[in-house]
Assembly symmetry: C2
Homo-oligomer: 896 residues x 2
């Protein structure tokens, strides 16, 4: 049984790898290790590591900034020199002005176009190599089979292995992760250089294998990686590349670039990325996406011209449908049928994909088997798929020898296959020949193709390599459309005649419609319509495409989540789900039903010991500051890091040294005047003096910037650079050596600072230090140096879940305090909200209200509770004005 | 001089008509009239009217809802009958389920398609009639001229007159108004049936005249009108058509429908409407626009097929460019030039348009002259324009005889004019002949066309008729593009040869690019690119179009506001301007710099007299409720209407009758037991009893719904229908007759209620009533019945203007309270914000931060002020815990 337990753990680890599930276990593991190392005394390496951990854990969302906050200091340290200051300013001006956003966007577009083109080029070479190998061995079917099968197995296995060794985060599409990141949750490991390398190389190999995988999802991720890395690179030149929310805007733009340069579809790319990643969209950022995506698509296509692949810039999958009479009005029902069927198909695809993942996760025997060899699963899947597509084998019934791109080109062809037969007329490439089979007709081929590719794609996208599902789905949709089109063409050989003019049916048009509809259904987007127009270079079928896409969306959205949301759930990414249609009961859930009532707070009059205890117990990013435990009136919120800094400052080595100095001075004084005041007393007084000194120090400053203990550490005093309200030197002065307390908060003991104050010998024993620390902890906290957010987001307890969701989505909050007439009674974080939305709370609702309704109805949320509260206040007011606190604390106790 | 004064006023009125400037004077006027009528004793008609006024004034944004709030009551009144309840429920279920949004959207799409088609049809007939008249009179040039000129003058004059008589709000484009309405500001008069009729008929006549006017802007407005009216109509069937914010979502959808059915461009329509009307866009509402616009465009084009105009559904201005080689890579600089030039041109157009309006407004002589005859200005402009386009006259140099549509068709033609000459080759319609002139070549014709049309369009769009500027601008852009294209074709007669294959230049493609670029520059949108593809049915020029549009936008946005923003400024619509690029100083303005410090508030312990005074002085929609004047702790906000209801209740006839009854009973009692307690005392006690009775009454209820004085008026007690938190019976019990106070708050004295309580004779004299009222006013307000919003939006005084703007835009607020540690210190409304943004406050800024930056930096806004405040609290905490109020009030006084 114990063996099974460890198996279970390994199994879970395997699962993680299998689908790159996001866990925070990594962080926990690293932390444990850090703690172990710390105890073994390797101080320097720990502190660096634990600092990183702390930053990662407490400063999510502010991490990039904080880390870079040390930067201007380094830059401005030699800035006493006037000329260098001038140069710096000029440089900064240039970078901030000229290089505002558009230089960044151009660079990003250029880079992504190059990446996209190179990847495409490599994939083409890989596919050609496979064809060449397969073609060269046509004397022996077995050898041919071996070549046909081994090649993709090797590539996929390499891709899976490479990705998992270098960066397991690169596995999969990347769109779910980007959705989460754009929501404001920082998944830092998803935007590293390692991931970039793993994703690009892994993707190239995976697609080069010829498996039914797509390039589009990973390209969204790659573009975002590019943007993040570029942003980091640009920040070396200073300027505005430091702001995190600007980075988020840039990431949104990058997503558009990803789609844009993948399909050479700038408009579709922008719309698709908006639909897929955003909840609320700021129209003023619209241009970013358009600009970058257009530039990127342009360069991408120019590269093709430059490489002599194309004569000029045209669409990627150019169609040549007739313009004058693209389709008959009476064909519209057929298009609608495609739309509805695609809707069901799309939902089925998402379901199937999830089913496969869950099946493999849940089946213990399979899992245990797969666990042993991590790369077995990809290899097996590849083997299965490539065996089935082996052209002389079953592949002959499903155009197995065509690559994905070739399939698409043939499917979008504007000639009809069914009637005139393929062999006679098709002259140009001959790819369409693959659809013909001597025994079975083209309908059977198409049906087999659709069915086989359907489950193959659903299966292949579960392989742990960088891959998307858009393109496979797109091809299946095109095949389905083609099938309907060919059927129509067979049914009405001379077209649905109107007024004697014969306008034969164009099955290629149906293929376009089908492709847009199915991919729209799987991704829950309407913009696939635009992508299809841009991909084919023809917009003549706009109305059929739009109708089919809308119908497909209507059907699919009512049956299943989108593929990306499904993956988000599978991977358990920290994402706030949408309030979909039909979540009417959400209107009846109130914040008070879901809030956490046991809020960690600090009071204005707390002492450092309380601070210490609060920091020890909770793990929230920010802590509430209340007036007093009795009144619980919310004054603001303080970041954890700030409090840590406060505490470190209080217990810091520098303060201790100061104390020692004071004590020594007092000692000297006492010796000189030979007084006999006892040590205890002196002790006390000294510490008081220190306290006093600090407070006067601060009150003499203009309190615009919290300069930390100026006289004690002039080296640390930063020149007041360009206003940067958040560059908080998190505990940068904290390096008392052995205190057990201090290990909790060991942040940034920079080596250079270590050498400071070395003239004063630290002659305190550990016991003395502990005593001193205990004494320090009993002092009252001085919040003057502390950045307090005076307006943390507040909700009242009767706020509906729906309104809460809207506010959280709109403002990108991660927590909000719940107050009742100014008194803090609870806190709601994303976690609670997610739980509530995912349906653990089930209160049946009555009323349907549109999303933003709650904002207009200011009178909505006032009912019983507020009434009662007001009643209390009212009573209190009447019964002579008592200090109030007692009444409030009573009700407070009641409410908790 | 007095004459000049009145002239001045008439002049201003004239100006209002001239550009349909939005003023609130109408409301003021109506109110004055109402007051006059009230005094003359026509009670019933007044109350109805004043009720409307009150609703309009105080309940903007909630008006529709409140008015309909009586509805469920009416519906449920006979609901004692079980069967009717069932039927009702089924009906409600059907309507709320099946008929959710998409039925509404389908109806809207259908309706708009019909309207669009009918309008197009009528315009075509009008234009044909003009041609016919002009053609029939070709014997006499003078008669021809008369016919050519009179026809448009008559039509435009009729349109202007009709619009101004029926609904002056129908003047102009309508997009600026829709932008304002979608922002959340209710301009009720813009969404009435009258406006709809005026807009449709006015637009048809205006466009039928052949003036360079567009259909697109007005169609956005017409679609919104349709949606509003349809929504009103649907609400007759109950269900969900009552929610105002749902209506706003529907209006946003309607805007997409407007563009969609005008150009048969669903995708472009959606994007254009989003870009033009929204600031923040909820992606979940995306489908609405797509669905409705697609359906509408579909029906619109089906109607054309049905009318045998078209064989099948195709684009409106179908182009036939070659697909294989649409353009050479080396032509791209020319496209870029078109983009940049269009950017300047677009900015110039906006500037010119504004200049003309301002010139005519400011020139007193012109104004005085025009003032005399209101229709003179449109007639004069029309005369000027049509004289210049008279085909045998100057019109021969600018293709004057072509209608706008014909011009566009010829400009987008895929043949080259310059080289092979027009006459020889053009076979199909011969419209292109108009561009040919025996003396001058086509370049001169084009240049003259562009220059003339440019100022003509800018001038024509200032005429007070329903008209848009999109289409004229589009045509000018196409002509400019054509000019560049023809020049290129002349420069490279055999195309820019690549590898020996001759691919001649297609000037039509340049025309497409130019059209998209110029219209994009004028409207500041990127989606004109999509509109252009959908209009022409070809997407082959996607990259040149995108590049040109982006460049045009970049240039135009840095020079001028968009045409719609310009009109918003001219019309002084209550719109919150965008924070554009380069408004860096906004980061340094704080809310405390712009807030109104003199907040109207009521305290929890105030008496009715205070309430009365507050209501008399201010005109804010909601009032702040604070704990006490000393502490100023904000508890919530109460709607003005609620307070009015409270006051009416207190002074209402029913209470007075109750008082009389009590007094009578007491009298009787006194008489019966022959006691000699004096009247004064009894008086006092009676009123106390009443008070007491009410409060026990309420405390015995469960306070979920504020049921008003149950025992006194059982007829008014509503059955607790489906939870509708806002159906407040605004003062519905208020009908004391003569009290002067009551006139202020005379709301809904329903006739049926008047008959109630008639058994009790109201024997109080006016003096007695006044006395009684005085007495009542001194009582303390009981807020138990009152809907209090416990979470009005709060900002802290250090919130930056930028953050404030973002919050206001995102949440659609119209005011927010400014608090400092719970204490109310000011209020900011849209007005202050607008003023601040428009630059009356000029603090130079330093730092550029992206829009949502402020949300992530929770530590940003804490600095001096908070520090000081905290310091105070800190001091207060230390100096023993006093009841606090005094300290707070001190600091309060300081801060005010």
């Amino acid at each position: 049984m114990a063996g099974e337990g460890s198996d279970q753990r390994a199994l879970q680890y395997e699962q993680t790898l299998m689908y790159g599930r996001y866990t925070q276990e990594l962080g926990v593991y690293a932390k444990e290790e850090a703690a172990r190392l710390r105890e073994s005394g390797q101080r320097l390496s720990i502190t660096e590591r634990s600092r990183k951990l702390d930053l990662l854990q407490y400063d999510k969302g502010r991490c990039a900034k904080c880390r870079r906050s040390g930067y201007p200091y380094v830059l401005d340290a030699p800035a006493q020199d006037f000329i260098s200051v001038c140069t710096l300013r000029c440089q900064k001006f240039l970078i901030s002005r000229v290089g505002e956003d558009w230089i960044f966007l151009i660079l990003l577009g250029l880079l992504m176009a190059l990446v996209s083109w190179v990847v495409d080029f490599c994939i083409a070479i890989c596919l050609q190599a496979q064809k060449w190998m397969y073609g060269g061995l046509d004397s022996n079917v077995f050898l041919q089979y071996l070549a046909w099968v081994t090649y993709p197995v090797v590539l996929i296995t390499f891709s899976a292995g490479f990705t998992q060794i270098l960066a397991p985060q690169a596995v999969g599409s990347g769109i779910p992760e980007m959705k989460t990141i754009l929501r404001g949750v920082v998944l830092k490991e998803y935007l590293t250089f390692k991931t970039f390398v793993a994703k690009v190389i892994g993707l190239t190999c995976a697609l080069g294998s010829g498996m039914p995988l797509g390039k589009e999802g990973p390209f969204v991720h790659i573009a975002s990686l590019c943007a993040a890395l570029l942003s980091k690179f640009m920040s070396l030149f200073g300027g505005i590349y430091e702001n995190e929310s600007r980075n988020i805007e840039m990431l949104a733009g990058a997503c558009a670039v990803g789609v844009g340069c993948c399909f050479a579809a700038p408009i579709g790319g922008v719309l698709f990325s908006i639909e897929v990643t955003s909840t609320f969209f700021a129209v003023r950022n619209y241009w970013r996406g358009f600009f970058a995506a257009t530039f990127s698509a342009f360069i991408f296509r120019v590269l093709a011209v430059w490489n002599r692949d194309e004569e000029t810039i045209t669409a990627l999958f150019k169609t040549r449908f007739r313009l004058d009479f693209p389709f008959d009005l009476q064909e519209l029902p057929a298009f609608a049928v495609i739309g509805i069927a695609s809707g069901f198909g799309g939902a089925l695809f998402v379901y199937l994909n999830r089913l496969i993942v869950q099946f493999i996760r849940n089946q213990k025997t399979i899992n245990r088997f797969l666990m042993k060899k991590r790369l077995l699963y990809p290899a097996l899947v590849t083997l299965l798929v490539s065996t089935l597509t082996f052209p002389p084998g079953f592949g002959q019934f499903m155009a197995g020898k065509l690559t994905q791109k070739e399939s698409l080109v043939t499917l979008l062809d504007n000639r009809t296959w069914a009637k005139q037969g393929i062999a006679e007329e098709f002259d140009y490439i001959g790819h369409s020949l693959a659809w013909q089979h001597p025994q079975v007709n083209v309908f059977v081929t198409l049906v087999i193709f659709i069915v086989m590719k359907f489950w193959m794609s659903a299966l292949a996208t579960t392989i742990p390599v960088p891959c998307g599902a858009f393109m496979p789905v797109f091809v299946i949709g095109a095949a389905f459309g083609r099938l309907v089109g060919e059927s129509m063409a067979a049914w009405f050989p001379d077209g649905i005649n109107t007024d004697g003019i014969i306008n034969p049916i164009v099955p290629g048009g149906y293929a376009v419609v089908g492709a847009a509809a199915l991919s729209g259904a799987v991704t829950h987007t309407v913009s696939t319509a635009v992508i299809v127009f841009e991909l084919t270079g023809q917009i003549s079928h706009i109305l059929p495409v739009m109708i089919a896409v809308i119908l497909a969306n209507a059907v699919a959205q009512s049956l299943q989540p989108s593929l990306y949301d499904s993956i988000i759930r599978i991977k358990k990414l920290p994402y706030l789900p949408e309030l979909g249609w039909g979540h009417h009961e959400k209107y009846n859930i109130r914040v008070e039903d879901i809030m956490v009532r046991d809020v960690r707070y600090i009071t204005l009059s707390c002492c450092y010991r309380d601070l210490h205890n609060v920091l020890l117990t909770g793990h929230l990013k920010t802590l509430a500051l209340v007036e007093s435990a009795a009144s619980m009136i919310l004054l603001g919120s303080i970041e954890r890091a700030q409090l840590q800094a406060l505490l470190s400052l209080q217990l810091g080595r520098s303060r201790r040294l100061e104390f020692i100095r004071e004590r020594a001075a007092a000692e000297k004084k006492r010796l000189s005047i030979v007084s006999n005041s006892d040590c205890e007393d002196n002790h006390q007084r000294a510490s008081q003096e220190v306290r006093f000194q600090i407070s006067t120090e601060e009150s003499s400053f203009s309190p615009t910037r919290p300069v930390l203990q100026k006289p004690l550490k002039p080296a640390l005093k930063r020149p007041s650079v360009v206003e940067r309200p958040t560059d908080i030197p998190i505990g940068s002065q904290d390096h008392s050596n052995n205190s057990s307390l201090k290990n909790l908060f060991c942040v940034t003991p920079d080596a250079e600072l270590m050498e400071d104050d070395d003239d004063l010998e630290d002659d305190m024993t550990i016991r003395e230090i502990a005593e001193w620390e205990e004494m320090q902890l009993d002092e009252q906290v001085n919040f003057n140096n502390c950045k307090i957010d005076p307006a943390p987001f507040q909700l009242v307890e009767r706020t509906s879940l729906h309104k809460t969701h809207t506010i959280f989505s709109l403002l990108g909050l991660d927590h909000a305090y719940v107050t009742s007439i100014g008194r803090l009674i609870g806190v709601v974080s994303l976690k609670e909200l997610r739980k509530a939305i995912e349906g653990s709370v089930t209160v049946k609702g009555v009323k349907v209200r549109p999303p933003l309704a709650s904002f207009r109805e200011s009178g909505t949320s006032s009912s019983e509770n507020e009434a009662t509260e007001l009643h209390k206040l009212w009573d209190r007011q009447k019964s002579t004005s008592l200090p109030g606190e007692c009444t409030l604390s009573e009700s407070d106790e009641k409410s908790q």
